[in-house]
Symmetry: C2
Subunit: 378 residues, 2 copies
């Protein structure tokens, strides 16, 4: 650590929220080898990443301390330039792997209760971006986790995600007749079947995680179950949905919307990114890096989703367009407006990619995904 004292060292990172309601800007402070300090002014966009890194992760601070400001700058620029032409192929390939895993892990359509299995399959198979599955598979690949084990976890998360969509679409909730370009589960079947299918999908997700085939070490399986339970429950996805319901027609400030979305969609996406580290028995600092990536990607994804709702057409997105504004939903688009919301999503996506530089090429598809989530059109 003595060596680091001789280098330029980051010693502070503060977010400033201008009184005029403009975008918050970061002010990063650095100590130079001669002991003097310098700052990146909050008009310099690089300060955002530096501040964020400083505040979020002990590991990143240590990296800053030992290598100085130039590497931070380097990360930033490399993330900006990240273009990976393999991403669409990888997304499509992982979607196929996970589809096969889901096919084998979902209950077969048998017995007097076959209608339930049919509804679970309808809600889960053959659709969706499989973003969460991709995060599981790619974070697992960093630690050379067996694809079979990772695919089970990916399938479990997609089941849990599918259940949340089925319940979210119910008349008493968002009342949406369309999902992934086809009738919602309660339209294709009925409300009672949709409620039960969601319930059974959640139970199956946890069951799959706990089964021996998911990991040879039961400690890893327990960590997956506990982390998914926390991400899905009252302090996670369900809590976020509750806030979302209560916020309809009311005005939330940016901080409240950020927390709402961190719970509603962020926690599950964060868990998906962390899952590889849990499966790979990675040290805590690596799990934290993936968690930080997941948080930022999740936030970027949600803003991008809200932008699509505000701007997209029903044909392109496969969902009923313009619903959020019609329902008075609390979104960052409502708080910031379209242009600034887009800038915020871009910023978060770059920040997300920055967390994973330490993994080098093993994380290049995850970094590419961060850029993809804010540019996708459906």
């Amino acid at each position: 650590m003595a060596a680091s004292r001789r280098k330029t060292e980051q010693v502070g990172g503060i977010w400033h929220a201008p009184p005029d309601g403009a975008m918050p800007r970061a002010l990063a402070t650095w100590r130079k080898p001669d002991g003097c300090t310098k700052q990146w002014p909050n008009s310099d966009p690089r300060a955002t990443l530096a501040c964020d890194s400083y505040n979020r992760s002990d590991r990143l601070v240590r990296i800053c301390s030992s290598t100085g400001v130039n590497l931070i700058q380097g990360w930033y620029l490399r993330s900006m330039a990240q273009v990976d032409t393999d991403l669409p192929a990888a997304l499509s390939q992982i979607a196929e792997v996970v589809e096969a895993a889901l096919e084998s892990l979902l209950p077969p359509s048998e017995g007097a209760e076959s209608r339930l299995a049919d509804a679970m399959r309808y809600a889960t198979l053959g659709g969706g971006k499989r973003l969460r599955a991709f995060l599981v598979m790619q974070s697992s690949a960093i630690f050379a986790v067996s694809e079979t084990c990772a695919a089970r976890v990916a399938a479990a998360i997609e089941m849990l995600h599918a259940y949340s969509l089925v319940h979210d679409d119910l008349p008493a909730m968002d009342d949406d007749d369309l999902r992934r370009g086809k009738p919602s589960t309660h339209i294709a079947f009925d409300e009672a079947t949709a409620i039960l299918a969601g319930d059974a999908l959640q139970a199956r997700a946890f069951e799959v995680l706990a089964e021996p085939d998911t990991h040879s070490d039961p400690q890893a399986r327990c960590e997956l179950v506990a982390a998914l339970g926390a991400a899905a429950g009252a302090r996670g996805m369900a809590g976020g949905q509750m806030i979302d319901m209560l916020a309809e027609g009311r005005t939330l400030d940016g901080a409240a919307v950020t927390r709402l979305q961190a719970l509603k969609t962020g926690r599950l996406i964060q868990f998906s990114a962390e899952a590889g580290a849990i499966l790979g028995r990675a040290p805590p600092f690596q799990r934290h890096l993936l968690a930080a990536y997941g948080r930022d990607v999740g936030a970027a994804f949600q803003i991008a989703d809200d932008l699509l709702d505000a701007e997209g057409s029903t044909e392109v997105t496969g969902k009923t367009a313009g619903k959020d504004a019609a329902a008075g939903k609390a979104t960052m688009v409502a708080v910031l407006g379209i242009e600034r919301a887009r800038a915020q999503a871009d910023l978060l996506a770059r920040q997300a990619a920055g967390h994973l530089e330490t993994f080098g090429d093993r994380a290049k598809l995850l970094r590419a995904l961060a850029a993809y989530v804010v540019t996708r059109r459906n």
Copy 2:
């Protein structure tokens, strides 16, 4: 084992369903020391237990083989005579322990999502017989499991049970405004909150099971999660509810009703009885005995519940009375009529108690519970 050859040994157990639709009766076959066989005629009620024990459990067959018919008869008679005056006190004490565990394990009413925690607490705390919790605590006591660990599992099962009641009462499901003598959760709150509260209760149940405080051995925690997932899912409780929904207004035969109820309520009760064996790392045959007990107690309980619905008043049961018949629900009461359904419940309760004789006094409260579930009035 040579010694057993010299004793009367059970060699067969067959159920006969009379063509006139009367109650199925058992025909048990015995080989005497001289090599000849004898049968208990199907008019002898002892044959029922003997047949059931023979068919269900390898362990019981081995016990039969080494000790002969007299012990089987002895079990039967002892179970019949079982009266334990400590049961009400034990039920009440365990209800208090589990209430305290639930209080600490449910999310606090905090933050913008506090309404969700309020609904989860409303649905779970301060009511219910805590039958499932009692099964967990008492099956755990057989194996000297720490009460703290057992209470966490009991609380998790009560959360899962509470979620199933919340969703079951929804307008799209059973549409019941009354539960445990107070307004159902969707009446006290609203439908969306009730759906989310049920969802979050299920997630929390699995999370609690997977947390380190539940058991020092992660293998035990994984077994609990996987078994609860199976009991709650499409081949368990949710599957049973699906069949129940589909059966409304249709006539099911006895076998179909038995399966429906084994899934809908039986699997979770069976899991509750097995949980102690999982926590106690008991050998498989002991887990199987508790599972067999749980299956029979669950079936007896469900028939007793249906009898209460048919005969009880809303004031006494805390639920809307006569709903099953009004909704054309498939129950054993509808199939057999009140008198024969009551006889069947009594038979199942005695059978249940018989499975646990091998545990001696350590299981006396579980045996007493079997008698209680068919005599309770609410």
